[in-house]
């Protein structure tokens, strides 16, 4: 029953992603879709950490930025092939996340928020300051993404890559959630001691999900570095971290499709509000407060619960 609905959801999304480009009038909209896709990939990973395992991170843009800058620096300064640079970034971020996860995931609530926030800010300050390597506030250009003589060109090429990667990420995330590993993650969210006494090594699982979500952010960052003409440190800063968390929470914690909807909505919304550009922080802040006060479970779970109630 559950397996069927999972494939149905994934299939519906695949169909939607396949026809979406036809519905988009020009490349400006394709660009928005690609940006939404990048955010959605990070948010699906972040949701494993925040939504399922219940561990907040206010520093994930740091991992996104590390992956992005790792790619940009290795490709432009050292002539690495983009794929290798992406893998190197993923490994580096994975190792960093692994090293810091054990001590900081012992912390709970506000303390964990503070620690992850601190890590994110430190990464962002380093990127801003080490201008000799990173280009500082001006940024750095990673150049196009090439693989075996094939070069990704234009928004539409990128669209298919990002859409494919998004489907893959969602497939993997839903698999994980619905496995003994995923149940262990949700269980330690519900009650750490309750999970421990039936044999769940809660520390190990927290570290694991932290590393997984960081590596997903890093891979998205590596690709993103090649997508944008100029990579700037704002993509790794505190506000980007907050934006990512807001997407997860707005879409719905512990809902993979919620993370997707949250990312898509909050990436698209500002584009339609360009006339109100100055009001963007007011609107973003308002959405954050409003969602949490009026539908703390987020958009998708709230709607799902509503439909279920109507049916029964």
């Amino acid at each position: 029953m559950k397996g069927v609905s999972r494939w149905a959801g994934l299939g519906a999304l695949a169909v939607f992603l396949a026809v979406l480009p036809q519905a988009l009038p020009n490349n400006y909209y394709v660009d928005i879709a690609v940006l939404a896709g990048f955010n959605a990939i990070i948010c699906v990973g972040l949701n494993l950490l925040i939504g399922y395992a219940g561990q907040i991170s206010l520093g994930h843009a740091g991992f996104f930025g590390l992956g992005a800058y790792c790619s940009a620096v290795l490709v432009t300064h050292h002539g690495w092939p983009p794929v290798l640079a992406l893998l190197a970034g993923a490994i580096l971020v994975g190792l960093i996340a692994f090293a810091i996860a054990r001590p900081i995931l012992k912390l709970k609530g506000h303390y964990l928020a503070m620690a992850t926030l601190g890590i994110g800010i430190i990464i962002s300050i380093v990127i801003n300051t080490e201008a000799g390597i990173t280009g500082g506030p001006d940024g750095i250009a990673a150049g196009p993404f090439t693989l075996g003589g094939f070069t990704l060109q234009g928004e539409r090429d990128w669209y298919w890559v990002v859409a494919g990667l998004l489907l893959l990420t969602i497939w993997l995330a839903t698999n994980l959630v619905d496995s003994p590993v995923g149940r262990a993650l949700r269980a330690l969210h519900g009650s750490e001691v309750g999970a421990e006494v039936v044999g769940v090594d809660t520390t190990r699982y927290k570290v694991m999900v932290f590393v997984v979500s960081a590596v997903i952010a890093s891979v998205a960052g590596s690709l993103f570095a090649h997508y944008v003409p100029q990579l700037t440190p704002t993509k790794a800063d505190f506000f980007k971290s907050i934006e990512l968390v807001t997407m997860v929470v707005f879409g719905g914690m512990a809902s993979t499709f919620g993370a997707l909807v949250g990312a898509a909505f909050l990436t698209t919304l500002p584009q339609f509000l360009t006339v109100f550009e100055d009001y963007e922080p007011i609107i973003l802040g308002g959405i954050m407060m409003g969602t949490m006060i009026f539908m703390p479970r987020g958009l998708v779970p709230t709607i799902a619960a509503f439909i279920q109630r109507r049916r029964s």
């Binding site: 929470v249 007011i282 949490m292 703390p296």
Partner: protein
Amino acid sequence: MLSAFLQFLISGVTVGAIYALCGLGFSIIYNASHVINFAQGEFIMIGAMSAVSLVDAGVPMPLAIVLAILITMAVGVLLEKLAVEPAKRASVTTLIIITIGASIFLRGLAQEVWDKNFHKLEPFTGEVPINLLGAVLMPQTLWVLGVAVIVILLLAWFFNRTLEGKAMLATSFNPLAAQLMGINTKRVLMISFALSAALGAIGGIVITPITFTAYDNGIMLGLKGFSAAVLGGLGNGMGAVVGGLVVGIAESMAAGYLSSAYKDAVAFVIILAVLIFLPNGLFGRKGTERV
């Protein structure tokens, strides 16, 4: 040598005093409600910006300061009534996002109400520097330190000697018992936000003649104030003051002797070290989980 060190120390203590006031603001709200108010830094900004625009509008400085503090307190109370109280039963994550949302909202509002420029307030008593063993001491620095000390003493008096303050302390130890004893915990929550807002505003106003202010400088100040509060042990008033001074001095020394670019990173490196090695802060109480 000594004069440089002294100079760094002076500026560290000065900015540390503001972190301390901000950290106290975090602690007061945390004690009353177990909420971490990530919008605390915005109080600093709103206080400073209000004072600047009132002075610009021709209001005499002392009156402008009082009005700016009152405006900030009103914002604090509104924040509590409109955003925090409706979500009282929410999880820690939810409340973190609400207050961060409030912070971004207030910053956006400030950008609309005022502008994106830097603003300065005239020093309270002139700009004739005082020479102190080769280091330069601006009169405004004395104002910052003096005001901080007075505010901290007043707070200590409030919490230990007045009924209202004792009610707030009681609520922090056991909200249910406090409620049963007839303490209006909702009122306590409101007062805590008003008080924190006032602390932020006062800090913001006295420091602005030295550091300038702008719509977006609340965030960093707030995060460092939070570092101060965590460093001293969340909810511990004296701890927040010590934490603020430690963060301020460390930051100023790092900027002076190491690298000014990494100045802002210092607070976060300290806080990570403390969280990892002393999870309860310097003066925090150790709790045992009850299962």
